[in-house]
Symmetry: C3
Subunit: 473 residues, 3 copies
């Protein structure tokens, strides 16, 4: 089958199906072969490289990729010297730059910024990192490295270590791995656990199961950080659930296919040679003598700042420089596909995706419900004038709205219905969101409030006290 | 006739004749057609893109233009990291960069800086903004948009709104419009009126007439800002002068061809939703329901920061994104013309320019007369060592010198003549500049002083008291 | 003979033999001819232009050169916005960028940084300035200018003026000139004398001789700065040594082939019109009326900030803009040679190099001996984790170690031998480095300590008191 991605955007890794990901990889292989020869694949095309936040690696590899393809690059390297610093909105910038270039690659500190650029620019947009939200081309090259080394993406076991809370790369990677049916071991440093909304999405939308687990203290002695949870794919071993402690022990000894280590967030935590060893994993030769790591590849998105010893560099299991080098062919493949300069013919896939296709109802009434994430693009001074708040209703237990820009979740406390008894204004009532009334209102009629004041301001009165859901007392 | 601009500089919009402007537009049309195909027009050429002040839009569109032409770009994106920051003069920088590149595009905070670059570099130079002075390629694309929408540049009516004082784009645009015989309505925000020297130039050198006008208070109610003056082209309606109030009322109701809105200078004035509406125009749907705007196109140099509502974006009269998109073809045309890679064959123009060709005498004696504009390149510490002060004598009533670098005007108080009676030093006399003596001294003999001290220091004595000109008492 | 430099690095000027330098010049001549035509010599190649310190001239000329060769450029323009600012090591950055690009050009404030990049990147590396250490492509273009004007590099007389202490360009130039058998006149401003380690290297490794000289006070009157020393090449006039004062006087009157002026270090010394004339040379027309300068060319690496008058610009002896313009062809030649896109066929050289090939023994035991230069790359927090300290033992009188990264020298105070009498630990002794014991220890057995504590900590005891070398009392 022929895969074309012409005119598409890449904002989150979920914008690509499993098959499209395989297509990118097939093309990346081809690109990697003739890497150092000038190609004319994207001749005449211009990539706008808009980096409003520090980056060397990502920016340079995108720019190298476009140049290798015969295209041209125009760059912005920081926020300070730009029209955005003069108070211009992202939407205006996107429209204008979209009229200069054929494709836009953007990194921005605000979460959801790349989505806004894609909404307003007339050309394809690649998210090269929007705050703590997503960085899908990094995820692609992580997966690409795993596939190169393991020959498949299906049914793998991957350990994720270190900062699982703030590292944007690790969340996208977890979603992508889940789609390919991976089992994952989470080993966060204390205070850096995988966030609840990521866990919820993994279990609700990718059909897997999370097994919590408190590793024995002795693990720390070995330089390991305690295992926190295992995400088991639907196709995974069922016995874990039955006899957890034993099953997990067996599971661990079998080892993992890849260990993905993430950078210590220096800005959040003062590192020291000793403190590091205690609070954060240090992957070194001693650790890698453990049986479980015998055939484990070591990955790291780089830069590293102490959690991965230099002595590992010469170890054949270390893949992080190879992983970084994959950045150019992966981005060549992406750029040429989105620009419509290439299509890929790949065999029909036999393996299904483990992602459930969820069609969440959308909430976009202007009732004062806003994203609570202060880094969300939708709440910024220059953007809120034109951006309409918009949410997916992802759960009713409790009521959970997911911002379409930054994907953060909120739990608003009050609800109402737009269907009034006999259309009488006097009958406008609002209820607590955790009452059984929520289940009685159709999503298209749902009105949501952040506070009683907002509800009353719009003419609603408090409805009869109703019992909270799941509280039968 | 064949127009060639090879090896020319573009420092102010006055460097191009009306016909040359039409030639640029004809070529821009051609460029716009094949925009997204790689051209080889400037293959082998290098453009130095020197931006010593914040810019995204202008820099990126110049760089996109050069790349689309098949040329290459080397960039400087800010002052801080450059040899200028080490104390190098602009002249030295210009000579060196001129030996690396084939054309220089420069933005610099000092007024007149681009002129100095052109004086010292061996290659063509384009001024991409020198402080508050000029930004001629912006003016070209403003005119280009008007022409595209109105099919002609001749005899149009244009309203200029907002900041008419500091906006460099608006001054150049006014001169250019005047040359094409436009009538202009000035509607400045309070405190942002068109400066006197611009008015003087418009009336003295472009042959038009300025009608002052105090609009009724009710205009404010409608969200309009009061009309301040109308510039009437020599070909324009004469009745305005006879019965101003009535004439103007009729004039206004007929509407304008284009409304050019400029950015509120946030740095000078604290905006707020309310304050903005009061002190500054906000162009929105409500305003555009007024009869006078029925067929008016809306233009804005961008970035906007509140004076132009987002709701206007979908209005077919809004041209500002189209205007921005014109940046690439206009700059492609300019670059290929100045580099000598293209000429343009256009029909002989039938419409004369409304500009009077003025040959002002030049004053460049070293008598301590300096430009008073503290942003002028000629008075900067690193530049004054080699730049000779030089002025055009643009008027005798009062004596007015215009700096050849920044075009600011000064009125020096004392004069003398280099022709001494019998060559006797004892006869060296200086006079007040507002005396009738000024008229008796030939420009080539004129000596000018800033102060009596300077005059006396050079051996002059105060001449006999003479009556000031125009003061017959 | 055919000269190929494919896959080589250029970290210091000593990385090129005299013949290789001549080959670069021959190719630069060829490049200069077709300068403004697009070449395809490096088509398909990418240069990473990593400037972690301010630069316009060097960066732009490298980027112009690569573009003229048909190659492409990816740039970093400052430290702040990079992964290095996130705490990444230079080694990691080098490996990753080396997988994106085909050649790396780096400027970095740490001395020796370019050496580290070359050690870790898989592609050729050009040092474009590492702190106060080296800037070999500048040296090449200085030599190139001299050769163009004097038709040869052999047996010239060159005066070096101004800041001979901090100017990195002047040290490399002095070494290179020495290799070609030049005689040099050092005329430093007070406090800016040529450093001892440069003098030592010149006399020890280039076989020449230094004549110290205190010029007469009257020189100052003429605007000259006093002659401090003359470096006489082995082929130079011997009479100088015999009757110095007279010989030097004659020598001076004969004039020099080139005067190389360097920039006043504004950051170290407050300039003023008067102060400048006194403390620092100002090369101007008056000075250049002196007989000795009649045929002297004036060179300057630029930027100038007062030490070279603008009035000299029109003097036919002024070569500094020509020198700067040489930057592009020289760098075109370098890039195409190191990338292996070009080789050069030059005639066998008849003139020997005056450099003695010194094979210094290397010291790299981990005994706590570190470089004392706080700007050395080897002592930086992010680098010291993986860089092993390494030194050349360049002298025994006194014991002198030269850091292989920054080339600074240290004189450690204590020594020992790894050959123990009968292998008994009790016999481990350490001695003062200035004792005759030093001569008795073979370089391969030498152990060096920075302090008695370090020695004792490793189980050594103080050896018997032994007389210092050269102190026979």
């Amino acid at each position: 089958m022929v895969i074309s991605l012409a005119k598409r955007d890449l904002i989150t890794i979920e914008d690509l199906s499993n098959q499209e990901i395989e297509a990118v990889f097939a093309l990346a292989d081809e690109m990697a072969e003739g890497l150092r020869e000038q190609s004319n694949v994207c001749r005449g095309m211009i990539m706008a490289s808009l980096f409003f936040e520090p980056s060397t690696r990502t920016r340079m590899s995108f720019e190298a990729a476009m140049n290798r393809l015969g295209g041209r690059v125009i760059s912005v390297m920081e926020m300070r010297n730009t029209s955005l610093a003069k108070g211009e909105s992202i939407a205006d910038m996107a429209r204008v730059v979209g009229s200069y270039a054929d494709i836009i690659v953007i990194r921005h500190p605000w979460e959801g910024a790349a989505r806004v650029v894609a909404d307003y620019a007339d050309v394809p947009v690649i998210n090269a990192g929007d705050g703590g939200h997503e960085h899908p081309s990094q995820t692609l090259l992580d997966l690409y490295t795993i596939k190169k080394e393991r020959k498949t993406l299906e049914g793998l076991k991957i350990a994720l270590w270190g900062d699982l809370k703030y590292g944007r790369t690790v969340h996208s990677l977890a979603y992508a791995l889940a789609r390919f049916g991976a089992t994952m071991h989470f080993r966060p440093s204390a205070g850096f656990e995988m966030p609840e909304h990521v866990i919820r999405k993994l279990t609700a939308e990718y059909a897997g199961r999370l097994e919590r687990y408190n590793g024995p203290k002795e693990e720390k002695e070995k330089g390991l950080i305690p295992l926190d949870a295992i995400y088991v794919t639907p196709s995974g071993p069922h016995q874990l659930a039955n006899i957890p402690a034993v099953g997990i022990q067996i599971e661990l000894e079998k080892g993992v296919d890849a260990l993905y280590v993430t950078r210590l967030q220096k800005e959040r935590f003062e590192p020291s040679a000793e403190g590091l060893k205690k609070g954060y994993p240090v992957v070194d030769k001693k650790l890698f003598k453990e049986k479980g790591f015998k055939e484990t590849i070591v990955m790291h998105p780089l830069p590293r700042v102490g959690e991965l010893a230099y002595e590992m560099d010469s170890d054949p299991r270390s893949m992080y420089f190879k992983q970084a080098a994959g950045g150019v062919p992966i981005r060549m493949a992406l750029l040429s596909l989105l620009l419509g300069c290439k299509t890929v013919d790949i065999p029909e896939s036999k393996v299904p995706s483990f992602a459930k296709k969820m069609e969440h109802p959308v909430y976009k009434r202007e009732t004062g419900v806003k994203c609570q994430n202060e880094k969300c693009v939708s709440v910024q001074e220059t953007e809120r004038e034109y951006i309409k708040h918009e949410f997916q209703i992802v759960s009713n237990e409790p009521l959970t709205l997911r911002c379409v820009y930054c994907e953060h979740e909120i739990h608003p406390p009050y609800i109402a219905s737009s269907k009034w008894h006999q259309g009488l204004v006097e009958n406008k009532r609002y209820y607590k969101a955790d009452s059984f009334m929520l289940g009685r209102i159709k999503p298209e009629n749902l009105i949501i409030f952040n506070s009683e004041e907002k509800a009353q301001h719009q003419g609603f009165k408090l409805g009869k006290r109703v019992k909270p859901v799941g509280n039968a007392k």
